[in-house]
Each structure stands twice: as structure tokens, then as C-alpha cells.
């Protein structure tokens, strides 16, 4: 797929925020998964007028492939600056694929307390699920070859954009 065909990630953020807005429960907080999810969560927090405080999760300490792959070389600290107990949460990630990252993030969240609910918002769902996980909010359904990796990154002006990387 040539790079020109990729949807505008910033526009996707805005579209998704519109879908989320009517379904926001009072007291909802955002939790972004490092690093793509964290950028998107910051966009949502501006677009939806939510508090500046957002949770950030690095799932490296909870991954199920640690035994084979070891520790991720650049682990970022997890930071949940609010009380998770009884709080409605929206977990934010860039790409939903096998569901294993989401599983790890949910496990980590529960070590902070018992949230009232956890819903998942992603910019892209590329199928290929290996766990019973579902994104309630999703901007883009896309089919990709397993050797392709969809990467979200900021350009030189800080605007989010998609890039495709081919492996093997």
C-alpha cells in the first residue's frame, strides 16, 4: 500500500473524539499506552476538554513474551496520576492487533485499583486477534499482511502520521 493512501491520523483523532464525546461518563479518565496511545490520549484530552491529567502505561513489565524476548530496551515509567478505584477509564492505543498489549495494560491497571469500567479506543484495528478483546471506539479497520507493521509517529511539525514497515 503506497504511503499516500494512508488516512490522516490527526483527522482520525478528531473523528474518534466525536464518537467518544456523547458516551463519556462523568469522571472518565484517559490512559494511553506508550508511545502511540499516549500521543492520541493527549489529543483526546484537548478535543474533549478532559482534565490535563492522563494516565500513561508502558506494558513492558507485564508482557507475555518476556520469556522469549527479554525486557524491552527502552522501558518508560508507568504513571497513573489519579485514583483508579471506581473510575470509568478509556484505554487508548494506536493499533489493535493480537490483543496481547491490551491484555497486559488491563492487568497493569488492575494493580492500581478496581476501575468502574475500562473501554478501549484505537485509531486502527488490523484484525488478527489472539485474545477475546474488542475496541469499542475505532476509527479505521484495515487488513494488512502479517509481515507488515503499522507505525504511528509524529512528523517534523509534531503532527501524527502513519507509516508502514515491512519485515522479512
Amino acid at each position: 500500500m503506497p504511503i499516500e493512501c494512508f488516512p490522516d491520523a490527526e483527522a482520525q483523532c478528531a473523528d474518534l473524539a466525536k464518537i467518544i464525546r456523547p458516551q463519556l461518563n462523568p469522571g472518565t479518565m484517559l490512559v494511553g499506552i506508550h508511545s502511540g496511545g499516549a500521543w492520541i490520549a493527549r489529543r483526546f484530552s484537548e478535543l474533549l476538554g478532559l482534565p490535563d491529567e492522563i494516565g500513561l502505561i508502558d506494558v513492558s513489565f507485564y508482557r507475555d513474551d518476556y520469556g522469549e524476548k527479554g525486557l524491552h530496551p527502552q522501558v518508560k515509567p508507568t504513571s497513573i496520576p489519579f485514583d483508579v478505584e471506581n473510575r470509568p477509564l478509556i484505554l487508548v492505543d494506536d493499533v489493535l492487533y493480537t490483543g496481547r498489549t491490551t491484555r497486559a495494560a488491563i492487568n497493569e491497571l488492575f494493580d492500581y485499583g478496581r476501575p468502574a469500567s475500562v473501554r478501549l479506543a484505537v485509531l486502527a484495528d488490523r484484525g488478527g486477534r489472539e485474545l477475546p478483546i474488542y475496541a469499542e471506539f475505532c476509527a479505521w479497520q484495515v487488513e494488512l499482511d502479517p509481515r507488515e507493521e503499522l507505525i504511528l509517529e509524529p512528523d517534523e511539525n509534531g503532527k501524527l502520521r502513519w507509516r508502514l514497515e515491512k519485515h522479512g
Binding site: F61, Y62, V75, P77, D111, Y112
Partner: protein, 324 residues
């Protein structure tokens, strides 16, 4: 048997950290990776549930052939916060005293499916011997952490000292670091000096009475001073070492009072260092011997933060090793 003199069994053929034996020869990128990873573990200890599942199902054996409550406890806490099972062996009172050799003890624990050994030993090189043994019997999947061997090395203390310095000073270049006290018998001093050299500080000064300074110190890339006032002047970091009481009996020092008079860190001496200098100590400290209470409890002392950071650093080392 082929045994090259410069063998470094802590790094595998592909450059990964397999064991942690010494900060000497520890590549800069591995050292920095440990410090970065430790930063991420700091937050885990602040949670309600102070645990992550990384080492779930792994067995960590604490083998302390020499007593140390604090180091053993911090290793135990670190392993437990990674969800490992921790087995503390009171080796001083068990098999070794019945005549079993060190490597026979290790082989028995390997048969009990150990995944990691944390070893403290009075003999320099004991953890090295065990790591080489494990590599030789093709069990480098079992990792060794040196928790202090003789006068040789105490790498996790060295790493937590580097973590503490970076936490307060951000950058190593340009720093002047003073290490004060019994350098001769101090594995902490050696581990600090190797790590500080790797990280590229501007100047390392070792300060102590002539009887407690090893003759070969200058070859380690440090400045040597016998006068505390001169040595501490303009420093950014002051690392005080514990004076072991048994040194008094060996004719190396006249008395604890005399030592405090010449080498104890007192407020008026600390005032000669930079105003934002930090004071560190690996503990347990002897108030009134190497450090004045006013300094130990003062705003420049970061001694208790070192203890907190030590847990995060040990979590980082264990999780990086177990993943390699």
C-alpha cells in the same frame, strides 16, 4: 583447561549481560540501560500493589556466605516486587560448615531448579567462579549477581550510587566526585570508581589515611589526597565509606576519635564542597566515626534515597538478566 586471564563471564558472546559480577568492564550502554530501566521501576514501589509479574515462577536464591541484613533484604524485596520466589539460605550455618565445597552447593541448588543466585562471599572472586562454572556446564540460563565479594566488587551498590548521582546531578561530565575513607578494604569504592570512569566524570578523588589507601590507586585513574579539606574542596558528590571497626585492632588506625578528627565529614568540611554537593554513604554508617550527625541528617545527605533507589536498581538488574 583454556582459561584466558581477561575472560569476562558476565557478558555473553553476543554482548548480552548474563551475570552481574563487577562494574569493571561493564560496557557503557549496558550500564546506562540498567539505570534507565531502574527509573521505570521506581514507580512500582509507590503503588498500592508493589508488584509486577516479570519474574513470576522464577526462583531466586540468596546465598550470603557473609552477613549483611540490608543488602540481603533489598535483594529480597526487589525479587519479590518482580513476583519471583525468594529462597534465603543460611549458608554460613549449613552445608559449607559440614564440609561441602562451594560448587557442590551450587550444583545441588541447580538441581532444585534455581533461576538466579545472589551471592555474597568473603572471598574475592567467588561469584566469578560460580558464573564460570555455570557457563562451563552449559547452564548460563542461570544468572549470578555479585552482592559483594571480599575486597573486589559490589556492583549493585556501584550502580545504585550512579543512579543516585544521575538523579541529583543529571549529567556525569564535569562532575568532581570524592570518595572518602577506607579505600583499601572497600569493594564499594572499586565498583564506584570503575563505573564513574565508564560514565566519564571529570575527576575522581580518593581521600583517606595513607594506611587505608591502596598503593596502586593512581593506575585506576583517580587523584589521591590524604587531607580531607583539600580533597573535598569544590566537589559535587561526596561518597563516605564505612569505617570497619575491626580495622582499629590491626594497627592501621590509632582510634575512632582520631579518625573522626581527621576524616570525619563535619559541617565545616562539607561547606568547602560546592553548595549543592550531595553526601552519600552505602550504610550502615557510624555516626561520630566517619560522619557527623549534623551532616548525616542534613539537607545535602541523600543516604536514605540511596536505599530506595537500591531496590529499583536491583529490580532492573534482575529483570534484565532473567530476560537474557
Amino acid at each position: 583447561m583454556d582459561n584466558p586471564p581477561l575472560s569476562n563471564p558476565q557478558i555473553s558472546a553476543d554482548g548480552a549481560l548474563t551475570h552481574l559480577l563487577s562494574t569493571e568492564g561493564l560496557p557503557r550502554e549496558i550500564l546506562l540501560n540498567i539505570l534507565d530501566t531502574a527509573s521505570s521501576f521506581l514507580e512500582v514501589s509507590d503503588r498500592d500493589i508493589k508488584k509486577v509479574p516479570l519474574l513470576r515462577g522464577k526462583s531466586v536464591f540468596n546465598l550470603f556466605f557473609e552477613n549483611s541484613t540490608r543488602t540481603r533484604t533489598t535483594f529480597e524485596i526487589a525479587a519479590k516486587r518482580l513476583s519471583a520466589d525468594v529462597i534465603n539460605l543460611d549458608v554460613a550455618r549449613s552445608s559449607t560448615s559440614k564440609g561441602e565445597t562451594l560448587l557442590d552447593t551450587i550444583d545441588n541448588l541447580v538441581s532444585m531448579h534455581a533461576d538466579m543466585f545472589v551471592i555474597r562471599h568473603i572471598s574475592s572472586g567467588a561469584p566469578h567462579l560460580i558464573a564460570e562454572h555455570l557457563n562451563r556446564i552449559d547452564r548460563s540460563d542461570i544468572h549470578v549477581i555479585n552482592a559483594g565479594d571480599g575486597r573486589h566488587a559490589h556492583p549493585t551498590q556501584g550502580l545504585l550510587d550512579m543512579f543516585t548521582i544521575r538523579h541529583y546531578k543529571k549529567d556525569f561530565s564535569g562532575l568532581k566526585v570524592a570518595i572518602v575513607g577506607d579505600i583499601l578494604h572497600s569493594r564499594v569504592a572499586r565498583s564506584d570508581i570503575h563505573a564513574l570512569n565508564t560514565l566519564g566524570v571529570a575527576e575522581i578523588r580518593v581521600i583517606g589515611p595513607q594506611t587505608l589507601l591502596p598503593a596502586a590507586m593512581k593506575t585506576m585513574g583517580v587523584q589521591v589526597a590524604n587531607d580531607l579539606r583539600e580533597g573535598v574542596g569544590g566537589c559535587d558528590v561526596i561518597i563516605m565509606l564505612r569505617l570497619q571497626n575491626e580495622r582499629m585492632n590491626g594497627a592501621l588506625l590509632p582510634s575512632a576519635r582520631e579518625y573522626f578528627r581527621c576524616y570525619g565529614l563535619k559541617p565545616e568540611i562539607l561547606a568547602l564542597a560546592r553548595p549543592d554537593a550531595i553526601v552519600m554513604h552505602p550504610g550502615p554508617m557510624n555516626r561520630g566515626t566517619e560522619i557527623d550527625s549534623e551532616v548525616a541528617d542534613g539537607s545535602q545527605a541523600v543516604i536514605l534515597k540511596q536505599v530506595t533507589f537500591g531496590i529499583a536498581v536491583r529490580m532492573a538488574v534482575m529483570s534484565l538478566l532473567a530476560g537474557n
